[in-house]
């Protein structure tokens, strides 16, 4: 299938299966606990009805997918440089994407797609509504062909030879490869927060759904509660916490391996191809000039192991995108070493960023966090402690909290820096994970400066740079210097009229 996609075409017929499985899975996810509850409480005779129900769901999903397949066509309009998708079963939708608005093209393969031997192709755009196209089943050559067509729109005339050339490049050795051992180290040292969130979400669902099940079976809740309470001696609490930490680490490792297994970055002419994944392989193609903020971060352990995490943030348009889609616009490259980082930065930013003149915040940076995060809560705690006898023995905790808090706030103050030179703005921040965010002045969309009236006398103010991928703040800086910088950046933005994506 070596066509140029200029005629409307359907996706691969296997798409029916993929789409059907997807729909069935969605329905199954939604009704999982109802099914379990029904399954246990039900007399045998109705069991057949249950089976019939499942069969009906499957049939409906396949029928629905068939209709979807019939109505889903796509083609490339060369003259207008547009990608057009027609879809919809009852209401027909036509989706038109201008090629230069495409941010990245993902080629994925989940288990089912792997078994059938097709690929899924997703197009991310910077459109104001964050709409995206997803083609669920397409064979490999077509997928890569289409991708090249989508991302190399500039020279429509010489497209064919170039594609061949590009395809050869794909086979070439990647310039960055994350080994299994590095990945293991990454899993041990980063993203605790996300894993913790996952764990909490998991326990929440289990407890919530478990309760509903208990209600459904009319099991005596008090019995369970007393058993649980009996188990909770101090020693077992410690064991429990240790187990939880272990589970956290394991989850972290599994997540890291699942997402970043065999991470490879290949350089194409104007684009970077990232591929990774353990079970579902994910290929992402991005063009460096669409990256808005480049960020690398490192914590203490990672510093000792000489590695860091790099992430590339692309434009997202706030509220219309759901949370998980917004994360999709940040590409993470964990576990590179400093040389690889510099190589990547050079590729994305054109040259390795140099730290220029560094600006540091005023000591008043410390005031608000110390007051609101330390003095206020500790004061409230102490007032409670002096009045309630049961809390009194725990007063030592307040001192510990206060000291650790002071230390953390002081570290965050010492790390809060912004460094500016002609081509780059580098914002450094963090307490444990120390991150450097790099922005080029031409990516700035708007600038806000603000100042509290009581800081007027001491010439302290704040700065926010709004970019399409989020904000960069610099707080409690010298206001005169900030104003100078703002004037300088405005000059840079307005003088050159450069594209920001």
């Amino acid at each position: 299938m070596d066509n140029d996609f200029s005629k409307p075409q359907r996706e691969s017929a296997f798409g029916i299966v993929v789409m059907g499985a997807h729909t069935a899975l969605q329905i199954a996810k939604g009704t999982f606990f109802i099914f379990i509850a029904a399954f246990i409480q039900m007399p045998i005779t109705t069991f057949t009805y249950l089976l019939l129900g499942i069969a009906a769901i499957l049939l409906i999903s396949i029928f629905f997918s068939y209709l979807w397949y019939l109505n889903f066509t796509f083609f490339l309009n060369k003259e207008k440089q547009e990608f057009v998708v027609n879809k919809g079963i009852l209401n027909k939708d036509q989706l038109i994407i201008q090629l230069d608005k495409i941010q990245q093209v993902n080629i994925n393969q989940n288990i089912l797609q792997k078994i059938i031997g097709v690929y899924g192709l997703k197009i991310d755009t910077a459109g104001a509504h964050g709409e995206e196209v997803s083609i669920r089943a397409i064979d490999e050559t077509s997928a890569y062909n289409l991708k090249e067509h989508l991302l190399h729109r500039t020279n429509a005339a010489v497209v064919t030879p170039e594609i061949k050339h590009q395809n050869h490049l794909t086979e070439e050795a990647p310039f960055l490869k994350i080994s299994t051992w590095t990945l293991f180290k990454v899993g041990l040292t980063s993203n605790y927060g996300q894993s913790l969130g996952l764990l909490i979400a998991f326990f929440y669902t289990v407890i919530y759904e478990g309760r509903q099940l208990l209600d459904a079976f009319k099991i005596n809740k008090d019995e369970i509660q007393s058993t649980v309470a009996g188990m909770l001696t101090i020693i077992s609490v410690f064991i429990l916490i240790a187990c939880l930490l272990l589970v956290l680490l394991v989850i972290n490792l599994v997540r890291t391996f699942y997402k970043y297994y065999e991470l490879e970055i290949t350089r194409h002419k104007n684009t970077l191809l990232l591929s990774s994944g353990l079970i579902a392989k994910k290929n992402t193609l991005i063009s460096p000039n669409k990256v808005q903020i480049t960020k690398y971060s490192q914590n203490y352990f990672q510093k000792k192991m000489n590695m860091l995490n790099l992430s590339l943030k692309q434009a997202h348009f706030g509220q219309s995108k759901k949370g998980h889609e917004m994360q999709g616009n940040t590409l993470e490259i964990p576990g590179c070493n400093p040389t690889e980082r510099d190589e990547l930065l050079k590729m994305i930013l054109g040259e390795a960023p140099l730290f220029g003149k560094t600006f540091i915040p005023d000591w008043r940076f410390l005031n608000l966090p110390i007051f609101f995060k330390l003095i206020l809560p500790v004061a409230i705690f102490l007032i409670v402690a002096f009045n309630v006898a049961e809390v009194k023995p725990y007063m030592g905790i307040a001192i510990g909290y206060f000291l650790i808090g002071i230390l953390m706030i002081y570290i965050s103050y010492r790390r809060h820096r912004i460094s500016v030179n002609q081509d780059f703005i580098i914002k450094k921040s963090g307490i444990w994970d120390i991150s450097n965010e790099i922005v080029m002045p031409n990516k700035i969309q708007a600038i806000t400066t603000f100042q509290y009236p009581w800081h007027k006398g001491v010439d302290v103010g704040h700065l926010s740079l709004h970019t399409a991928a989020g904000q960069i703040h610099f707080k409690y800086g010298n206001y005169t210097e900030i104003k100078k910088l703002v004037n300088y950046w405005l000059y840079q933005i307005e003088q050159k009229n450069e594209d920001w994506m």
Partner: protein, 180 residues
Amino acid sequence: MSADSLFTNETIDLDRLPKYEEILLKQPHPDYWKIICINLTIFFGILAIITGTLLLLADDVKRQAIWIISSYFVLLAASFLLFRLSFKKRGYALRKHDMLYKSGIIAESTTIVPLNRIQHIELNEGLFSRMYNLGSLQLFTAGGQTGHIRIGGIAIDEAKSIRDLLLKKLDMLENPETEA
């Protein structure tokens, strides 16, 4: 050509660059204060009705009546005062290459949107605004919710002319050959 020498070269220029902080800002139309007052009055009117019904109906609330009523009036006075202060602080300016808007209730913040970063422009006329021939102008950038400015209380004719001017500028930026 090291980066250092280039940067120092620019620092000399820095002082000669146009300074956004020294621009004379245009205040919103005096009638806009009336609109703010109308909005505040409506808000506090509804609040008064709700608290009033609560005070009459719920016995528990009745005992705290003095506190509730006095805090209501403190809130009322404080909002009028703060809005008045912030109204005095508001100001906007259109330069050749960017638009400035200054505002703030307590902190004084200035947002600057370069014209070549504007995504679209919106001119809104509310019900009360129309009575006083005012409008509010919004400039959106790709910076999302935070990177956009909304200038309320511009005389409608002026707002329209600013809008047309901006549109013309945007058009010129899109087709640079006409710019020269």
